[in-house]
């Protein structure tokens, strides 16, 4: 029996990983999170604090980092958790992001240069290098756009914007590729990684094999949630949205937590970016992520059932 500690285990991706591990007899999965009520299944832990981490991982055979948060939290949690894994000789899995490739375009495999320039992307890059420097027996999963039940940014937010007529068919502004992946598939991938033997530092992109364009994702999601006839959104409206989003971006840089649903310039750049995650390496893990249609169906069903 392998005892796995999932940091960020109460979050959206973390809880999907816990579910995937719990479904298999060979794992005992324990969540670690900053807040909540401690129990045999949940350990309270500040993943940016070495002592707190050392205590949380005291009996873990494997550590999975699915922590979310500010740039500082992303980088430091990866450093502390992987250092702890190295010290204990525990396996380590880091949930990374497509954001590390920055503005790359075309088909991008795991050997592509990391060109990230955004705060988030740079933080994820630093997290990756911290993991590499820790010396832990680490595997890296670089996830695309994570959807499925519970995805606030990529399902609930998009769905609400579609219903409000603020998103729709963006024309050339939505021709980028939306590398959808279900959180559940990331859970599956983690389970496969831990069940098998991966070379130290192995890295895998993970996304649907038939990732649609963002326009395609918006159209399919709008249809599935009955958002009404798809609206065509022109450049003038998008420019206005980006301008309206500016003050909120400044606020969030200043540390404010509440982020209203704004179509910021950086989000709009993502919608335009024709980057396709090459996931062929993933086949060696023996998992095949769900199709885009399945991603949309599962996401829409969850959203439709929200109060």
């Amino acid at each position: 029996m392998m005892r796995v500690l999932v940091a960020g285990g109460t979050g959206f991706v973390g809880s999907a990983i816990l579910r995937a591990l719990a479904a298999r007899p060979e794992f005992t999965a324990i969540a670690a999170a900053r807040h909540g009520i401690a129990s045999p299944h949940l350990r309270l832990c500040d993943a940016t604090d070495a002592q707190s981490v050392a205590h949380a991982v005291r009996d873990a055979d494997a550590i999975v980092n699915a922590t979310a948060g500010s740039a500082r939290i992303l980088t430091e949690s990866a450093a502390r958790l992987s250092e702890a894994a190295a010290r204990r000789g525990a396996r380590y899995v880091e949930i990374g992001s497509i954001a590390v490739y920055g503005p790359a375009i075309g088909s991008v495999d795991e050997t592509a240069p990391l060109l990230a320039r955004s705060r988030y992307g740079l933080a994820k890059c630093r997290a990756e290098s911290a993991v590499r420097e820790s010396g832990a027996a680490a595997t890296l999963l670089r996830a695309g756009i994570v959807v499925g039940p519970g995805s606030i940014p990529w399902v609930a937010r998009i769905a609400r914007l579609l219903r409000a007529g603020r998103l729709g068919d963006l024309g050339p502004a939505g021709d980028g590729i939306c590398n959808l992946v279900r959180a559940a598939d990331i859970g599956e991938a983690v389970a496969h990684v831990l069940a098998g033997k991966q070379p130290r530092g192995a890295t895998f992109n993970i996304a649907a094999p038939d990732a649609p364009s963002w326009n395609g994702y918006f159209a399919a999601l709008a249809h599935a949630i009955h958002a009404g006839p798809l609206r065509r959104i022109g450049p003038a409206q998008l420019a206005l949205e980006a301008r309206l989003a500016l003050p909120f971006a400044a606020l969030s840089r200043a540390g404010a937590r509440a982020s209203p649903e704004a179509l910021s310039g950086s989000l709009q750049r993502l919608f335009r970016q024709p980057i396709r995650l090459d996931c062929r390496a993933l086949a060696s893990l023996g998992i095949a992520p769900a199709s885009a249609a399945a991603c949309v169906a599962e996401s829409a069903a969850w959203f439709a059932a929200l109060p």
Binding site: D169, G171, P229, R231, R272
Partner: protein, 539 residues
């Protein structure tokens, strides 16, 4: 990569794998789909990103009878995107019967069937941004869409046929970014092909002569050349190059547009609802039901394909008493010439029109507000004026097939453009069959309206013929001038759009249509271009 021929050095010789001449919807669809990893592609476009009058001058030519055909440069555009920079966006596929040889229509029949093209219609619809490939109201509107005229039933007409509308999408503006970053594809703007050089046996293109606006010329050598220059420039370039392949005498013949017009006065029966406006499908596209002549009725009447829509009466005639329609008379100066032509005869705004506007101020203001919001400032535009006429009387807006006729043809004029290429001479002809198609179809529709008790169509056969020819050839649809045929004796290109008797010259566009069908051509032009891309990639 997008480059400009205004910056190329003289004496340049470009070598490439595939050369596409013309960056309209046909050339752009082909370039987007082709993307061959090992064969670099060059697209030559005569115009730039935007139109400029000097380039459009290259489209000028002679028209045999100016009453029958618009000036050669009208309804055309030289710029990336081709005529989609000004098109109306109406989309409909050809019907299966359009591909069949029909005993009652000489020279009819394609060497391919609807089935051959069917897989390409879906992606073509997507490229045209006309939503799903669903062309019946039953398929596109699960919750139903009101019929044009309540209670109309007929064994000869279906009212379930749909037309769908593109934004209307300018292929140049829409796909410029996608083209620019496509690996292996270069676009050269302001590059006008002015001649095709062949090998000694005239079986293959050896090189293309290309001119920049300055007059500087250079050559392009390519393994494969596709002419996607539109239905008028394609025969011009082939003829100006002295012919190539085996079909010399057929190039430029069988020139078809469509036979269209607005005619009659349709009085719906009391209490019958009329829906002559647009529905919005789930994918956001505007759609409209129309009355389509069924294939069996075409066969039994011995006529071509035909559709009709309920329409407001001709705006130029103030008897409609509708403020919005009269107001259009005052908007003429702000409209493109292509559209003022279609508005009808250019009568000056007269007192009855002013009276209509004044007596229908709320209607006129409401129309103006909707027009601004849903058309002027919208990206997906409300397709056309669709106001209920206050007098309650509608007209029939019909669009009919023009039959192929070798006497209707494009030849070269004695004069030349500034690059020395002979200008076009357009001798468009219509035939007795064309007039019979509209006369018989309107008569059948009138009879079926009466029989179903849905309404009454008031018309005379002479008036139908006059309305069909009022503006002459329908502008913008240039078809048949390099027709597709199984045998080199009856056409210019084979079923794969390769010029008969050549190894490496192909045509994309309406020129290859052997017959015109009732449908507006662009959707099919794009579908054919996508099919050609697959064929060339496999070759």
């Amino acid at each position: 990569m997008i480059e400009d021929a205004r910056c190329v050095p003289s004496g340049l010789a470009i070598e490439t794998g595939l050369c596409i001449v013309g960056g309209g919807p046909a050339g752009i669809a082909l370039a987007l789909r082709y993307a061959h990893p090992a064969r670099p592609t060059l697209l030559l476009e005569s115009g730039g990103i935007d139109t400029d009058p000097a380039t459009d001058l290259l489209n000028e030519g002679e028209v045999e009878d100016p009453a029958l055909h618009p000036p050669a440069a009208l309804y055309r555009r030289r710029a990336l995107g081709g005529a989609t920079g000004i098109w109306g966006g109406r989309c409909a596929p050809l019907d299966p019967i359009d591909f069949a040889p029909r005993a009652w229509m000489p020279h009819s029949g394609w060497p391919i069937t609807h089935e051959t093209l069917r897989p390409y219609y879906e992606p073509a619809n997507a490229l045209c941004e006309a939503g799903a490939f669903a062309y019946t109201s039953a398929a596109a509107f699960p919750a139903g869409l009101s019929p044009p005229l309540e209670g109309f039933t007929s064994s000869r007409f279906t009212d379930d046929a749909l037309e769908r509308f593109s934004c209307p999408t300018d292929f140049g503006a829409r796909y410029r970014d996608a083209l620019a970053r496509r690996p292996g594809l270069s676009i050269l703007l302001h590059a006008t092909a002015i001649g095709i050089e062949t090998d000694e046996r005239r079986e293959a293109v050896a090189a293309l002569n290309v001119a920049a606006p300055s007059g500087l010329t250079f050559t392009v050598r390519a393994e494969i050349v596709v002419l996607a220059t539109g239905g008028l420039e394609t025969p011009r370039l082939l003829l100006a190059s002295g012919g190539i392949g085996t079909a010399r005498d057929l190039i430029g013949r069988y020139y078809m547009c469509h036979i269209a017009g607005v005619t009659g006065r349709l009085h719906p029966a009391p209490g019958r609802a009329v829906a002559h406006g647009y529905g919005i499908a789930a994918d956001g596209t505007y759609c409209r039901r129309r009355l389509a002549l069924r294939p069996e009725a075409q066969a039994s009447l011995g006529i071509g394909n035909f559709i009709a829509r309920l329409h407001h009466p001709r705006p130029a005639d103030p008897a409609h008493r509708t403020g919005a329609l009269s107001a259009l008379q005052f908007a003429r100066p702000f409209l493109r010439p292509e559209y003022t032509l279609r508005l009808g005869a250019s009568e000056r705004p007269s007192w009855p029109h002013i009276r209509n506007v004044l007596l229908d101020l709320p209607g006129t203001a409401g129309f103006a507000a909707t027009w601004l919001r849903r058309r002027r400032f919208a990206v997906r535009k409300f397709p056309s004026v669709a106001v209920p006429p206050r007098a309650g009387i509608y007209a029939l807006d019909f669009h009919a097939e023009q039959a192929p006729d070798p006497q209707s043809r494009i030849t070269l004029a004695a004069t030349r453009d500034r690059h020395g290429v002979p200008r076009l001479r357009i001798a468009w002809r219509y035939s007795a069959l064309d007039l019979r198609t509209v006369r018989e179809a309107v008569a059948a529709l009138a009879a079926d309206l009466r029989n179903s008790g849905a309404g009454h169509l008031d018309y005379t056969p002479d008036e139908v013929a006059a309305d069909a020819l009022r503006e002459g050839a329908y502008g913008g649809h240039h078809l048949g001038t390099a027709r597709m045929s199984a045998s080199p004796r009856t056409g210019v290109v084979d079923e794969n759009c390769r010029v008969h008797g050549t190894r490496n010259l192909y045509v994309a566009g309406g020129a290859v249509f052997p017959t015109s069908g009732q449908a507006n051509p662009t959707l099919t032009i794009v579908a054919l271009a996508l099919r050609l891309a697959d064929h060339l990639r496999a070759a």
